[in-house]
Amino acid sequence: MEDQVEDIELRPATVRRNLTIKNNVARQVAINFMPSRQAPYNTLRLRRVNSENNALLDAVASDTPDAANKQADIIVREMELHTHLMQNDPVSEELRREALRDLPQGLTMKRNVRAKLSASVSLHSKRRPISVLKRFQYRLSFAWKRTRERFRDLIFSIQLWYEPIRIIEGHLGTAVGSYFHLLRWLFSLNLLLSGLVVCFLVVPQVLHDHNNSTTTDLGWLDIISGKGGLEDSLLFYGHYHDGVINGSLPLSYNMPFAYFFTMFCIYVGFFLVFCYRTAYSYRRNFIETSGGLSNVFANKVFCGWDFGIVSAHAASLNAASLFNEFKELLSEKYKVKVKRSLCMKIFEYTVNTIVWVTVLGSMMALHYGVWALRAMTTRTTNWNLLVSLILTSVLAVCPLLFNFLVRLEFYRPRTSFYVTLARTWLLDITTLSLIFYYWAKSSTKCWETVLGQEAYRLVLLDSVVSLLLLPAVEFVRILIFKLNPKGTGPEFNIAYNSLTLIYNQALLWLGLLFSPLLAVAVTIKFFLLFYIKRVSVLRACRPARKVWRAAQTQTVLYMFVTLSLFTTLFGIGVLFLASTSDACGPFRQYVPVIAVIGEGVLGLSTHQTLNAIITFIIRPGVIGFLFVALCVSVYYMRAKSIAQRSMVDLLRQMLVLQAKDKDFLLTAIAKVSNGEWLYSPKPEENADSHTWRYLHEVRKPSNAGYHFDGSRLSHAFDRSDKPVRPRSERPQSVRTDGDTDSSFSWQGSSNYLNDLENRRMI
């Protein structure tokens, strides 16, 4: 019997458990002390160890004064068995800490254990001389861990809006809370963004302007449309100096470089942050929980109650929604599943396709309309403003239309939700790309400023809509509801509001390059949005009655934010790689704008070797090769994960087989103690024996390579004279795991064997 203590690889110490791959030793120790881990699935040795430990723990009577002490001693003795835990270096310390955290005992006990453990470690540690390199490595990782912890403490101590979000979660549930989390996260990112922009771009420019000041006059409409006096201001790209700024001190500040690098770092840095966050969220919510759709009832019972609920109203709503969902599940269980004929399927697919085509077609028509409107020569002086207004209202209303349209289609409820989200997001992104493209290709002088103005206008108009109009609409709705209470009140539409946030963020990404102070504007807007939404949510909305897997929706929203950033980055990159920006702005001198790196910073024309290297790297062949390598590694990882998943399935099948074995053995024990003989391998002697039938009709086929044949199960035995059990009549509910699940509905096989035997004997 192999030793159960597994080898662990010493991993660099990380602070938060989520980042380490499972600490096997910690888990081992924790497992050994969970008394309710039943033995059947363990090997004999581990079972003995378990029962020893548990027996020891239980044997210490809990009312003797030093019972806790004795129990702690037992635990420490167990932990001492694992040599990796007991060494006197930071890595072991981290492992010990994780093992302690995972121990399912009370806190007082844990403190006791910790004290004893450190005493034991210092007693037994052999001072081995560590090499200088290792000591340096340890010190580095230790210092890194300390800084991370301190940083996290700092972030936690300035947690903005912690209490308000907690109150909202308590009243309306965690799904609505997730919207506010998204808002807060985006707000803090934008705050950081505006901080960077102001420090590196605005302040030097202000100093420069100070030297040669101009006066401007602003009209009212100018502030909204960004024209006139604001046009040549700090707000827009065109204003920024394109050379070196000399301050009063003998310091020079190269504006183009600063502009380029700030923007580059911002875009790329945030892109990486978003990618990481999306990947983490995806792993946590989709991959770790894959294949989990078949336990509908169990999920409802065990994960249905939101433990964060604080108000009585939300609690009664949660209870009511659980009641409704249970009733729905029960009725679905007994619904006869209508087999959709081929005709119906074709009809459904056609309808879906038609609606998609309609949606895409109307989007394109919209784009064409916007383009045409823009291209019309200005009749009034504020034509641009009008077009922006039209655009904003269309973008605000379309999601509601999509909501309505999706009801005409034949999707499952979850899919239709995702489809609506995707369509809305697509509409937003394509519209923004269209605007970008239009202005980039137009022949206006200084198109960048115009684009910046457009972004500025859109942000402003959208804030009018979401800060003023929408709350007003919600208040009116709640008033109507109060006067005429029919149905439920207005619910907080998480999807719509989250998409508004994503739209704003995408607008910011688009406009940031051309209007640096837009970051500040959007930050202020999010700040106000939080307070206004909070008031409207607490007073005017009811919690949603049916919450669609909030965790997975969060992942999808993060993904949309990342994709928006990616699209913008791509667009800007393509644009700046090729064309020039010689009319205005800080990049006037550089012929393709990207040459700012080449000529400006690196001075490529002077360094020949560097030039050669960079030219080589940028060649399409190299980039194509890197891309192919990336694809190959993605494919490899995917293949690995598929293999792991099938291994998990295999092990699950083994688990179920063990359960059947247990069943068989228990019955066999009962029979033998009754004096009956069971085992007879030869079929001619005792073909009806319990053992023979079990081995040949249930176990033997499945022993062959674990390809479990469902027809060999108990319900293949003759059951014509069995009383009808309600369970056996359960229709095949939809299982996403294919037919493995139906084969494993082992419904007390030994009972069947017993009954049949008894009947035959009589």
């Binding site: 806190l107 936690f156 359960a659």
Partner: protein
């Protein structure tokens, strides 16, 4: 030099940080919530062994806003108390908040959730436990036979070894595949 009351010694704070999933600020915040239940009983300074000797009775703990509306509040207090009665010391309370916090990993939550749903404390979640749980979850709105149906379905889905009740293994199996478990089994401190 003001009269600064030290709530915990440095050693205590380090211990708590190592044994729970909290940072220092969070620990102090938890202490504040604990003290707000009964400010007379709980002193401001817990530097000696008050952290594991002073006991808050279960009736007062249940009045905490986080637990007030929870149908399983009595059982939660019983699970986390050191003697099974429901009366909590500060360290029990800290333990409880740590398990319910965001940083606690899935398997710790699953372990404690199993103990909470095991209402009769027999190391299994049996039929009666499930019946009682469904009654509590829907605030008594379901009929007796509907509840029986639900319990049968749950056992069908989750019971792998067919003994008519859920062991920890079965429970963990179900919960590990539920994406919402971690977000619902969460109390923000």
């Amino acid at each position: 030099m003001g009269n600064k009351v030290v709530t915990f010694t440095e050693q205590q704070l380090e211990d708590y940080q190592d044994c729970t999933f909290f940072t220092r600020k969070e620990i102090l915040r938890v202490f504040k919530r604990f003290r707000d239940v009964n400010p007379e009983l709980i002193p401001k300074s817990m530097t000696e062994n008050q952290a594991h000797t002073i006991i808050l009775p279960v009736e007062e703990i249940e009045k905490l806003p986080d637990l007030k509306e929870n149908p399983f509040k009595r059982r939660i207090c019983q699970v986390f108390s050191h003697d099974g009665s429901g009366n909590l010391t500060f360290e029990d309370f800290l333990d409880m908040m740590s398990v319910f916090s965001e940083a606690a990993p899935r398997d710790i939550k699953a372990w404690y959730a199993f103990r909470i749903y095991d209402l009769d404390d027999d190391k299994y979640i049996g039929r009666e436990d499930l019946l009682e749980a469904t009654k509590l979850l829907t605030a008594g709105q379901l009929h007796e036979d509907e509840r029986e149906e639900i319990v049968t379905s749950v056992l069908d889905e989750a019971d792998v070894d067919g003994d008519g009740k859920l062991s920890f293994m079965d429970f963990e199996h179900v919960v590990a595949r539920a994406p919402d478990f971690v977000s619902t089994f969460h109390i923000r401190v």
